[in-house]
């Protein structure tokens, strides 16, 4: 029987907090950037010019149909060679994670916008509203209500996906885990602790999602 010794991790807790900070930093920044990308791409795909549709679709499918790990490595190793610019690991991670999140958020936005009844556009037009105003005041608020559950589950995935940045030696929670393991020779305790930390951060988020979903359901 394995003798667990979590006390052995005591000297390393500051590294875990540090790693969690990095994980949260990448989550927040790439979710925000991804949302911006997703909103723009999602709107362009539903209401934008026809010529924009194909390239945007190509972007979305490229990032949805290749593994994030491959994208990360490609942006870190291949992209700098192609465009002749040095890229820090941190920058590569930010770009890859943002583009990845953007592709998924774009589809969520598009789905939400298209789920709004056509009659809503007509009602807005019938009282003399301009297109942009109908979108902002009438369609988008309803689309966001529809999107919230999908948005939260995608954001939960995004936080977990940041663990991939450890591959290019960015010091997130998982990376710190490998560092601590190398120093403490306690992989079971370390990775169990890391898993618990992820869980403790994410579980409340799923509860919030459930609650929101129920509340929105009641409103409709």
């Amino acid at each position: 029987m394995y003798a667990w010794d979590f006390a052995a991790l005591k000297p390393y807790w500051s590294l875990i907090w540090q790693g969690l900070g990095v994980t949260l930093f990448y989550t927040v920044t790439t979710v925000l950037a991804g949302l911006l990308i997703g909103l723009i791409v999602g709107i362009l795909r539903t209401a934008g010019p026809r010529w924009a549709s194909m390239p945007l679709r190509a972007y979305i499918e490229t990032f949805r149909c290749t593994p994030l790990l491959v994208q990360l490595i490609w942006v870190y190793y291949a992209l700098p060679v192609l465009i002749g610019v040095d890229m820090s690991a941190a920058m590569a991670c930010f770009i890859a994670l943002s583009l990845y999140a953007g592709a998924f958020y774009a589809e969520i936005f598009r789905g939400g916008i298209e789920a709004v009844d056509r009659g809503q556009w007509e009602a807005g037009r019938a009282i003399g509203m301009r297109r942009s105003k109908i979108f902002r005041r009438i369609v988008l608020p309803q689309a966001i209500q529809v999107m919230i559950p999908a948005f939260i589950s995608q954001t939960i995935l995004q936080l977990k996906n940041t663990s991939l940045v450890s591959v290019v030696a960015v010091g997130d929670l998982l990376y710190q885990g490998t560092v601590i393991t190398a120093a403490s020779y306690r992989p079971l305790e370390v990775y169990t602790t890391i898993a618990v930390v992820y869980f403790v951060v994410l579980f409340p988020l799923t509860l919030v999602a459930d609650r929101l979903e129920r509340r929105l359901g009641a409103h409709r």
């Binding site: 009844d117 009659g119 809503q120 007509e122 009602a123 037009r125 019938a126 009282i127 003399g128 509203m129 301009r130 297109r131 105003k133 005041r137 009438i138 608020p141 309803q142 209500q145 409103h219 409709r220």
Partner: protein
């Protein structure tokens, strides 16, 4: 505007969807204060005609005039811009079959949205206007209720108040009772009847023949993309001459029409011989 000039007129309007020719040259002028009802079988083009009057549908050819707004369609005519369309629609109220209330707004917010966002009315003034209109349609107590909590008849009355809040020159009603439970139809028709009595210029597409007979200044019969008949209630509903119109009215009531009074609601069960 001179008294002779119609509030709304369409001239030789053509509309097709691909190969389907829905409007085949329709002309109609509606004077201030008139109530014109359009009847006809489904697919006859009556709803399309109505939707061309605020350009929710853009015709391929013809002309539309509402007050000072003028649009011409056809070869060589520019496609109307979004802002020109918006200016027209401020002055043309429309009520839809399926209400199309904004579900994320209360009844009052539905009514004040247009005045605030389109007419740049102050919030206070618009709330006063909105409460007044909700009271007018009998829903003063529902101001803070969301559409999901309203009955169909209540929703439609809020939708009428929303359209009225723009102070339109003309109101369009597109089968506004067709989606309602039978017992809720009258409360909506009563509101429209009241508007007619106040002199609101209105164009209605409806299947409520008794109501049409009661409220209309003129009745138009649409058949196969053409305004086949246009005349008084007497000429079109009570004593129809056009064989297609007679067939339509007969099919509609499953009882012979053409005799005076036979389509009045109160007489529908009366013996006609």
């Amino acid at each position: 505007m001179s008294a002779a000039e119609p509030t709304l007129s369409v001239t030789d309007l053509h509309k097709s969807y691909g190969a389907l020719h829905v409007l085949k040259g329709v002309s109609l002028g509606v004077a201030r204060g008139e109530v014109v009802t359009l009847i006809g079988a489904s697919g006859s083009g009556k709803s399309t005609l109505l939707r061309c009057m605020n350009l929710l549908e853009l015709p391929q050819a013809g002309a539309l005039q509402v007050g000072r707004h003028r649009f011409a369609f056809g070869k060589g005519e520019a496609h109307p811009r979004d802002d020109e369309l918006a200016l027209l629609r401020r002055d043309v109220g429309m009520v839809f079959q399926h209400f199309n209330l904004f579900p994320h707004m209360t009844a009052l917010q539905n009514v004040t949205e247009g005045p605030i966002q389109v007419r740049n009315m102050s919030k206070r003034e618009s709330i006063e206007l909105g409460r007044g209109l909700l009271a007018k349609v009998g829903l003063a107590d529902k101001a803070d209720t969301f559409p999901a909590k309203l009955s169909g008849g209540q929703k439609q009355r809020v939708a009428i108040a929303r359209a009225l809040a723009m102070k339109p020159d003309v109101m369009l009603f597109d089968e506004v009772t067709s989606a309602l439970d039978p017992e809720l139809v009258q409360e909506v028709l009563n509101v429209i009847r009241e508007l007619a009595a106040e002199g609101m210029t209105m164009i209605l597409v409806t299947h409520e023949m008794a109501f049409a007979a009661d409220v209309s200044s003129r009745v138009g019969f649409m058949n196969d993309g053409i305004l086949a008949e246009l005349g008084s209630v007497e000429e079109v509903i009570r004593k129809p001459q056009n064989p297609r119109l007679i067939a339509f009215l007969n099919r509609f009531h499953r009882q012979p029409v053409g005799m005076r009074g036979s389509v009045d609601a109160g007489h529908s069960g009366a013996a006609s011989d």
